[in-house]
Amino acid sequence: MQDAMERFGYVAEPEIATAVFLAKEMGKPLLIEGDAGVGKTEVAKVLARILDTELIRLQCYEGLDVQTALYEWDYPKQMLRVRMGEDEGRSADEIESVIYSRDYLLERPILRAITRSEPPVLLVDEVDRADDGFEAFLLEVLSDFQVTIPELGTVRADRPPFVVLTSNRTREIGDALRRRCLYLYIEHPSLEKEIRIIRARVPGASDRLAAEIGRFVQALRARQLLKTPGVSETIDWAQALVRLHREHLDAETVERTLGCILKDRHDMTDLGGETLAAMVGEAAAMG
């Protein structure tokens, strides 16, 4: 599994590979927690590519309701149909059976994931942002992979999708949902792994640049920051530096491109010119 993930550009620690392997084998959802930008969402994407299947993503937010996640009726189309039916002199029962059929149903992510003949990967992203009510609904869906639409009846998945849930821990996920899943906590990567990630994802970066970026970002994470940069920021930054044709880090470039990795004004002002220059010096010196 680890090899398979690396083939698709995901540098996986044994923990991550084991978790994905077990989730796939045991047919259980995988709940992934960790700081922003450590590659939680990426796990689902890579899993979809390994299985060569579709990735269906449900982005959670505060106020997300069951309709948005499950299905919606196509109201304008229904409206037209009702008017036409009236003109043709059809009975209400007849019209009803027509407008509440599959043709008028708009599938939303969860229903789509259940009705696919080839099981897709269903990514429920940032589940901590949805409210408790939605979590309860999710729990129900994840336990039997069936959904009841009052007008149509029950839809059941022939082969359940692979489910990956991610959480940034903005709030604690309910115990029931947590127990339904396998659990993986992803930490920020080690220096060695981070350099490998840069090499894998930004092929244009030289060995020296990748190593310096890695050391610099690791040093940043060791500081008390409001927004600790994740791997995704590291990759962005490496890409930016490659675009700027940099072969190594220097204080001026770092200062100008710092916006790629630090996303908070206070963090930026905290790292004044001198601190920054010293950190760049250290990152370069160890190479």
Binding site: E62, W73, A92, N168, Y183, D264
Partner: protein
């Protein structure tokens, strides 16, 4: 090791985990056995990873899990358990070095250094000395109870962005409108509507219990308990030189018994304050899980700090960046001559949204609108 042995060993291991306050349910055990049948059992690291994943070990429980794994999943330990039958081994000996089977040097170290997490017994004694709540007289408590009623009403009327069906005003709900229209041959006699749901306030309260707060704190604490009853999500912390989470020992119900339980459990308070360190500890440990866009943070303190002011500012900034607002209750404010010039207070001030006195029931009551989400 046969499948039966595996099940038994996982069950005993789980019991040891539970005794070490790691939450493990029976379904987790089933998952663990299932997971173990799918990995290479001779690869110890793989076994550890599989168990951690299947038993849903959170980062906070990781240290306890690692220590127990070291003891339980050595080849010798597994064999001994198999031979020894059902006798359960001793739970993890945090401070009881009793009859324990052989362990590696690494695991011994882990046990010695293992902090006791947020078990209240650890920090509450360091923090607080014994003191009674008796001075909160019956009249005061009765007033508190009455205030609770108001709290429930006012705090429970904040609206969320979730839409729920309503009979009154709101935005049109096409799904239900259509459902109704079908019954009337496609005529929309009445549009169904949805409005924003009403949701409970989310509060995190950090209460200073240092010596300088002594005259005020009982009163404020009684208020906080009332608050907890109205908004069940309220999290309570006490701090002076270190931080203690009080929430686990507070239950809903009558005010009086809870106060008594607290007075028995929480000894008194005195000594200095290290606001900066405590706020920083809160930010580091709980910011992610307890603070959110709807959380109101209430800090009760006079801001007389002996620690570093730079730390106060930094911690406040960190908390502010994630919470909805910060309300600072300062009992000294009731004195008209008071200026918030104490070093800790001055450092925190830029990040405080509402600075209010907290010396009597009236001042607390005025505070309510600021506490709603």
């Amino acid at each position: 090791m046969t499948a039966g042995d595996l099940v038994a060993h996982v069950a005993r291991f789980s019991r040891a985990l539970r005794e070490a306050a790691v939450r493990v349910s029976v379904s987790d055990e089933v998952d663990a056995v299932d997971a173990l049948t799918r990995v290479d059992l001779s690869d110890r690291d793989e076994v550890r990873r599989a168990l951690s994943i299947a038993l849903k070990i959170s980062p906070r429980e990781a240290a306890a899990f690692e220590a127990l794994f070291e003891r339980w999943w050595t080849p010798a330990a597994v064999r001994a358990r198999e031979a020894g039958g059902a006798e359960p081994p001793k739970p993890i000996p945090v401070k009881r070095p009793g009859r324990v089977p052989e362990r590696s040097a690494a695991s011994r170290e882990l046990e010695v250094e293992r902090p006791q997490g947020d078990a209240p017994s650890w920090s509450r004694e360091a923090l607080l000395r014994r003191k009674s709540f008796d001075e909160c007289g019956p009249a005061e408590l009765a007033a508190m109870e009455a205030l609770v009623g108001k709290l429930v009403l006012r705090l429970a009327t904040a609206r969320s962005r979730r839409l729920v069906p309503t009979r009154g005003r709101g935005r049109v709900d096409p799904r239900r409108s259509f459902r109704a229209a079908v019954a009337t041959d496609g005529e929309f006699l009445r549009l169904a509507r949805r409005a924003r749901a009403i949701e409970e306030a989310r509060l995190v309260v950090l209460c200073d219990t240092s010596g300088s707060m002594d005259p005020h704190v009982r009163f404020v604490l009684a208020f906080l308990l009332a608050l907890k009853k109205a908004a069940r999500r309220t999290e309570l912390f006490a701090f002076n030189t270190s931080l203690v989470r009080l929430t686990p020992w507070i239950s809903a119900g009558k005010l009086r018994p809870t106060l008594e339980r607290l007075s028995a459990g929480v000894p008194g308070w005195s000594g200095g304050t290290r606001i900066g360190e405590c706020l920083a500890e809160f930010a580091a440990r709980y910011r992610e899980e307890m603070l959110g866009p709807r959380t109101v943070v209430v800090i009760v303190s006079d801001g007389l700090d002996r620690g570093e002011t730079e730390l106060v500012a930094k911690a406040m900034r960190s908390i502010r960046s994630r919470a909805r607002r910060i309300v600072w209750l300062n009992p000294l404010l009731s004195d008209p001559r008071y200026e918030p010039t104490a070093k800790g207070m001055a450092a925190a001030l830029p990040y405080v949204d509402v600075l209010a006195p907290a010396h009597n029931l009236e001042s607390l009551e005025r505070l309510l609108p600021h506490l709603a989400a």
